[in-house]
């Protein structure tokens, strides 16, 4: 990763982290006030995955996200205010308030949605990849999913067909250690999900998902391979979900485990890397952080000011659809 990109990686990770902190605070205040706004699946701790992968993509590539998708959307470049407004169900949201936190869309960026169904996006990713082959373009598709989705049947069906037709897909498995509150060791019998790739005749790699440089490097390789027509890759990024599953369930994980992973914070690690390699000093980082924080504040205010969608317009819309 060159210096520019390394700097950009830090900016994106700050954006995701500060966005999640702001979004979480808003969500919790509302809950306390008795306003229930569904689930909030925090991406805190996993920032390096979305960031490293997205930096390896071109603007015309396709991305499928998950229920834990705020980070994917922001790393892909969807405007912060559009994501923030969507979380509040506002008309200026990227899905016009119809989708909410789990269903962020921006087709102009090839961002074809979060998905409320674990494993639901894998088959869809075959389709955009097939479309690229069909039209003879060299666009690639990235499909994010979690360790939980690796136990769904769609994982098997999709990986098999992707290899069968050498589709330009990168399957990014974000192994954050937990499917809801069940540890991955209680659902999967092998140490690396990436090892399953071999069973399909696919390339598979496990990478430190809290090291944005490592994620980028491996993703870049997988993306190039897909773009050159050499087929799909399964890329397992080992990371950790710092927050509880969706803010609605109590925390039951051991404090020691949480502390160990907090010590592996992807942002702190990248800050150290940038300092060690004289890419950015403390002042520059603080300045960047402050700029991103201001941007989030701005988005927060705009999301507050934005209107709720008009119910009459909505009723007209669904009437036409029937």
């Amino acid at each position: 990763m060159n210096r520019d990109m390394a700097w950009r990686a830090l900016e994106i990770m700050y954006r995701i982290r500060l966005f999640e902190e702001k979004g979480k605070a808003h969500y919790q205040q509302n809950r306390l006030a008795g306003n229930f706004l569904g689930a909030f699946h925090s991406y805190i701790g996993q920032e390096a995955v979305a960031t490293g992968v997205s930096l390896a993509l071109r603007n015309d590539d396709y991305v499928f996200s998950t229920h834990r998708g705020h980070g994917h959307a922001l790393a892909r470049g969807i405007a912060v205010k559009k994501v923030m407004a969507e979380l509040r169900g506002k008309v200026d949201g990227c899905s016009r308030g119809r989708g909410g936190s789990m269903h962020l869309f921006d087709p102009a960026l090839g961002f074809l949605g979060g998905n409320g169904i674990v494993g639901g996006g894998l088959p869809l990713a075959l389709g955009t990849a097939y479309a690229a082959y069909y039209r003879g373009t060299d666009q690639i598709t990235v499909c994010f999913f979690g360790d939980g989705a690796a136990s769904q049947g769609t994982f098997h069906e999709s990986l098999n067909m992707a290899v069968l037709w050498k589709l330009p897909v990168v399957f990014v498995c974000e192994n954050n250690g937990y499917a809801v509150m069940t540890p991955v060791r209680e659902t999967i019998c092998i140490p690396h999900i990436a090892d399953r790739a071999a069973a399909y005749g696919m390339q598979g790699y496990a990478v430190d998902g809290n090291d944005v440089g490592a994620v980028y490097q491996q993703a870049e390789e997988a993306v190039s391979r897909a773009r050159q027509g050499a087929g799909p890759t399964l890329l397992e990024c080992k990371t950790y979900r710092i927050d509880s599953h969706c803010m609605m369930l109590p925390e039951i994980r051991a404090e020691k485990e949480l502390a160990e992973w907090k010590a592996q914070d992807p942002i702190a690690r990248w800050e150290k890397y940038l300092a060690d390699n004289r890419i950015a000093d403390g002042d520059a980082r603080e300045e960047l952080r402050a700029r991103v924080a201001a941007e989030i504040e701005d988005a927060d205010r705009l999301a507050d000011e934005s209107q709720y969608p008009d119910a009459a317009e909505f009723l007209e819309e669904i009437k036409c659809a029937n």
Binding site: R98, F105, L124
Partner: protein
């Protein structure tokens, strides 16, 4: 005019649409060299090549999702599900993905996808190859549901489905596949939401779905001298042309709805709800839904045949509703069919 079979009509529709629009491609199990489970895609591999005729592994969820994903980019995939029953293994993709992506995206994406699936009962294929599942899809906002009952409609509705910008569940009738009819040369479209009056009548309205249409017509013809029966084929369940049905009921005052699916929570119940809202005051007798029994379909022919309404059952209900005495066995036998 010329003779054409239902399955050949589907084949023509696919071929014509693939010729017309390069964005149309087909995928599913055995759609290549074999020409599909029943022959609907015959000759298409030779004509269009493997890119546009994609034979898949047995992975309904995976390849239906592939179709949806490709549709998101503006292609127009036609997915073949070999038996309607098998769509159960792809329900997440159909119900949670295809039906909802446009909506959840705030209408920023579209899913111009057709899922073709043959249903059919009476082929002695037992409980997992004989189901009529149309009501599930009617009950899922975001899908259109089509059930052609004639050769003409098979072609015209499939072409319309392929040109539609929303996901369409296109339910074909396996028992009608090899039935031939006289149809015109060339191409035609049949619009969605336009029911067809198959027999005009004034005493009773019979709404029949897919496989029940030919049976209802036969029943109507056999009663011709005594009771004048109007047979209506809705052709598409979503959108439903309830106006045509309602104006018929306003004329006849009597409504019988018949389908092969179990009567409980079936399409008939929904059609009846919509009709009653419009013509409760015109009804001279309680409406009746004559549907399948609430049971999985047995293999044994003698048992299978009692699970869905047969022509004598339709005749008996019509007579009852019209206040006529039931026919004796000899008279029923003279009608000659079940």
């Amino acid at each position: 005019m010329r003779e054409l079979k239902y399955i050949e009509a589907l084949n023509e529709a696919l071929r014509e649409e693939m010729e017309r629009d390069e964005k149309v491609f087909i995928l599913g199990e055995e759609v290549g060299a074999l020409g599909g489970g029943f022959g609907a895609t015959k000759g298409l591999l030779e004509r269009f090549g493997t890119k546009r005729v994609l034979a898949t592994p047995i992975a309904e969820s995976g390849f239906t999702g592939l179709g949806i994903g490709a549709a998101l980019t503006g292609l127009r995939p036609v997915v073949e599900i070999m038996y309607f029953d098998f769509i159960t293994t792809a329900m997440d993709q159909v119900v949670n993905q295809a039906a909802k992506l446009k909506f959840m995206s705030g209408n920023t994406v579209e899913v111009p996808l057709v899922i073709r699936a043959p249903y059919g009962i009476g082929t002695r294929e037992a409980a997992q190859h004989s189901q009529s599942l149309e009501a599930w899809f009617m009950h899922t906002p975001g899908l259109k549901v089509v059930m052609p009952a004639s050769v003409y409609d098979a072609k015209g509705l499939l072409k319309t489905a392929i040109r539609d910008n929303d996901p369409v569940v296109f339910i074909e009738n396996r028992k009608l596949y090899f039935k031939a009819e006289e149809v015109p040369e060339g191409e035609w479209l049949v619009p969605f939401g336009a029911a067809a009056v198959r027999c005009a009548g004034k005493d009773i309205t019979v709404v029949a779905l897919s496989g029940m249409v030919p049976k209802a017509i036969q029943a109507a013809e056999s009663l011709n001298n005594e009771i004048s029966v109007e047979v209506i084929d809705p052709r598409t369940l979503v959108p439903l042309d309830v106006e045509t049905i309602a104006s018929s009921v306003k004329k006849t005052g009597r409504l019988l709805i018949t389908h092969e699916a179990p009567v409980r929570s079936g399409a008939g119940a929904e059609i009846l709800r919509q009709v009653q809202e419009r013509c409760f005051d015109w009804l001279d007798a309680p409406p009746v839904i004559l549907g399948g029994l609430n049971t999985p379909i047995p293999f044994c022919p003698a048992l299978e045949d009692v699970c869905v309404p047969q022509i004598p059952d339709i005749i008996a209900r019509i007579r009852e509703m019209a206040g006529r005495p039931p026919l004796g066995d000899t008279q029923l036998k003279s009608i000659g069919t079940t």
